[in-house]
Subunit: 355 residues, 4 copies
């Protein structure tokens, strides 16, 4: 177990990047070791040593002077010179796909927040249309990648050199369904429904017609039914065939938070206690999952935390259940889970810096 490490973040300018910076700057194991911030920096800013964090995200300016840290122009030399041990990529998937092999070759461990390395099945990767699919380097890199959900893959994460940090919707759905499906309780022939709703930060920082306040506010819209990119992750991680689940995302008029409502049929009648036991057994030793025994979770209770909250309700016959999972799309759905992976990878307490 290392006492500390030098981290670097590429992509601090986005929403997930801001959360990542915030978490790493106050992580107890990283005191006095702020991350290196690197990325695209124009000439004028490069001339003054990069862009101060306080200009990128004014809310990160604090009395300890962290606002004066700068995003520097990215170069592999910079990262090597500064002895970066762990590289966080909060970059578009094309860029992550291109950069990871080089980072690994230079001896860094990588936690990639994009969808670049999450999928083992080539068929599922089709939605990303990676040009390098099938090349030897891509294959080798993909084989090293571990899907970064500690609740499912804690041991493999501990030794991993490349973490493919899960998608936000996928995290909420996998955590809710995996215990039930793995226990063999779910009648998959009747089909699972995952009706998911996410706040606007999930749509990214670029101003578009759909992220305009006038479009998103006081509104709700469904999109990407049958076609959302996170589908492949669900299928692979829960162990489902595409015909066994329908996943529909919706855009909520709130800044952050996901609530996913899952509908399952059981082979046999279940009791509240039997289902609760399945969840409690599955998540024993998982500090970042909170199970609700009496009520259903709500977005307000998980926003700005790294918890995934799970609750369920059975019908009177015990043959059908509604399962609700809530999490913060920028934390447990992105940067928080990335730091959780960092902790597991380095043998630190899994929830350190995340409470």
């Amino acid at each position: 177990m290392k006492e500390t490490v030098q981290t670097a973040v590429v992509g601090v300018t986005g929403y997930a990047g801001a959360e990542l910076a915030r978490l790493l700057l106050r992580h107890p194991r990283l005191k006095g070791k702020p991350p290196v911030f690197a990325g695209r920096v124009d000439a004028a800013d490069a001339a003054r040593g990069g862009i101060p964090l306080a200009e990128i995200h004014p809310e990160l300016a604090d009395s300890q002077g962290h606002g004066a840290l700068r995003q520097q122009p990215f170069s592999w030399e910079l990262l090597s010179d500064l002895d970066v041990d762990v590289l966080f990529l909060a970059t578009p998937h094309e860029q992550s796909r291109a950069w990871v092999p080089e980072a690994l070759a230079r001896g860094m461990r990588v936690i990639d927040l994009s969808g670049a390395w999450r999928l083992t099945e080539a068929a599922n990767r089709a939605v990303y249309a990676f040009e390098d699919d099938g090349t030897e380097l891509a294959e080798e890199t993909q084989e090293q990648a571990v899907y970064g959900m500690p609740e499912l893959h804690r041991k493999r994460i501990a030794g991993a050199r490349l973490i493919a940090n899960p998608g936000c919707y996928a995290t909420s759905i996998i955590l809710a369904l995996k215990p039930l499906v793995a226990a063999g309780l779910v009648d998959l022939t009747r089909g699972i429904v995952a009706d998911a709703k996410s706040g606007v930060s999930g749509a990214g920082k670029a101003p578009t017609a759909k992220t305009h306040f006038m479009y998103a506010a006081d509104n709700l819209s469904a999109y990407g039914a049958f076609t959302h990119r996170h589908t492949g992750e669900l299928l692979e991680q829960v162990g489902l065939d595409a015909s066994e689940i329908i996943f529909t995302p919706h855009l909520l008029p709130i800044p952050r938070g996901i609530l996913s409502t899952m509908y399952v049929h059981f082979h046999e009648a279940q009791s509240k206690a039997s289902i609760a036991k399945v969840y409690h057994d599955f998540f024993a030793g998982s500090p970042m999952v909170r199970l609700y025994d009496k009520t259903l979770p709500q977005i307000q209770h998980i926003v700005r935390t790294n918890y995934a909250d799970i609750g369920f309700q059975l019908d009177t016959g015990g043959r059908r259940a509604v399962v609700v999972c809530c999490l913060d799309n920028l934390l447990k759905g992105a940067s928080g889970q990335a730091v959780q992976n960092l902790n597991v990878m380095l043998g630190w307490g899994e929830s350190e810096g995340l409470e």
Copy 2:
């Protein structure tokens, strides 16, 4: 066909009451015939002739002086004296249950916005626990009641003396499912899911912990899975058994609007055109339903209108569909549909006063 009628509204103080007042005050057939407003009025207000509308709902004050209309103390004599033809009840279901027989006996036609008379099956009425269930008067009254959804029961509404105006969630789900189920396309053994989301006005005007801004804002919560009171309406109107559908309502952080997402499996593979035809045939002659052929409806496009917007998406195999229905819970889900029923009942144009 009557040229005009005298209407009365009991319960103008609530959200549905305000919308009802607004619609009736500007209805082209009711020019110069404002509704009689009657309800609970304390002694001090009674002494000044009732409570001015402008004090109850400041937004209803207009340059035509409608803000000076008053909610008067309710009495049957008042309604008789003023020759009320049609009585709108925007009252709690217990009150509607108690009052309707008297109103009918006095020769008024009634449009009741509560759940008091919507259900024909006694088993489904159990959720309301009506004390009079089984009495002769209740039976006779119930038999006269017509479920007030013109798209399903236009002819019976035309002759009805008692309209049971549908529930808001129920309207959104029935309109989306009825055409498909009636056409025999849906494999009910695989179960339908109706995941519904409503704005806060659906929870009523009483200040409660759940309607507090701090609870509702930036939040989403599921409630009443398997137990919501609108379930009986869905079952009776769509023609389903309780085991064939799961309906879960959610509380959206917006003032008004419902979006319901329905998931169905078909017996046989369908095409976009085949499903579109089912909907277009079913809603031919229904001016208040808008069908989307290319995209899915959104709440922003129906808020403050009386339209129900319906769209769908098929999976590539054509065996599964996601159907989305949006409507304004206070209009098509309450007061707008009530006026639509008034129009049909009196032989007026179905959308008069609703555009």
Copy 3:
């Protein structure tokens, strides 16, 4: 008085354009005479006769088929061929500045929603930097322009050929201050403060960093202190020197609505009754202003109406007042006032089509 006219709208694609279309389509004097919509249309759309309104603003599709109306490619010939009497320009001020002389020359009357022709003082126009300032055509056109606030200039509007429709902030501030200043009550040496707050639609439809949901939601920001473009209108219409007022706009996290809070000192002590009388006298005969005698107006009561609501509170000494004015920035602050001007211009009832 003309029975009806043919209108045209350039710029229906924006927020003000949508409201204008909605108002004109249901105006009782314009039944069967829908506006001509003209603007920039690409070749593909031109080939199909223009862009259907239902694609531009889905909420405008109605059971009367108005969604099928099309925005056609703009040309002066089109407008002439269709005998357009009144042209509404919901266009950027540069474009309005360039087009108005041609429209007038072709005999159309123009109601321009931009800032192009609102200012009589060249110094105040400096913020717009019009290239044509000082040319004879511009001078002549400017002289014909009437500032389109019926409460101040009703008579001149009646005969006008060019209406410069007021700015949204300016409307809320002028209506509140003009009666007090015109009555000579206000001690201008002590300075007036106008602290104004507007919903996001005021910032326009273009997606920008500031209109991103993540920026605007749950936020409030001040901007343009001392420099906002509407300042010139205030000064000219209220009759103030720049040193006598400070106007600061703020961006509210709501779709629409303006609330302006004005602070004034009086030369002499006033009573509630004396101030109320000033306002009631000034706005006698103005159907679109509602005066509050007991409480202060709120945004919720004016949203989606064309009313400007005004209320005030005095300190115990009667020497200072807080005046609040609320209006909908897209209606009384833009398109509603434009239709009000149309009504006045044509001798119709001032509030026709606006209730």
Copy 4:
């Protein structure tokens, strides 16, 4: 300097109480010393040892088991038995007024979040109508009270036994005005305006007509012009006469955050640099104030932090300024400032546990 202390919180059930609990539970000096929570607990809950924090505020349940801490029935004996050193009162002002003398007599130091002890002038206290005003005990207690704004009274706080924690609006206005007024720059004869806007949490947790989502959402309203209870604090702390300032609060449609816009006239022309210097000098050594030199602060940058952000804009003549101050009403405006006072009182780093 004490290494640690035992704290207690009365009133954890409210919004400020929740924030206080969160801050104290993760304060680095209080590790392993969670606060004692005491308050009203009914018999059934008392029988199980009190109400678990996780039931009061689900978001406070964490993987360290803090959700299992309980609010116990309040008694002075409980506090004595548990050796409470510092008592936080997040209680109504009447209760704080009644309890503080007893707490002081028992040797506890008190940080009171209510308005009970903030005002030294009896005239200003009239708004609270304290029954004990004028009694010896009240006088003595009042004399011990220190207004808990470290930026103004750091030294006196260090030795205080009773801290009167400032009001939220008052904090935002005093911090912005005090430096300018203390420097003698402001022409008070022309009057200061403080136009303040606060999120809904400032209105408390009780469900009322004004905190209903339907009232607060998409709305803005002014209230309490000339009469708000925080006025006395402003006057005393800034050193103003009631005739020299107008303060109007507004209710913003957001959960939390205050933005106050202040308008001042200067005796003489100032420059950007001269005003900046005044602020920088005044707040040297104050870690929880962030000064903006280029832009104006916004609510989004201070929400969920303990910072007060201040910026200003001068008119071209340098004689007038708009000053904006933003803070989180539950943190720097309540519980965060309370913890800041705890730090100062105990000689700890002023921002410990607050970053």
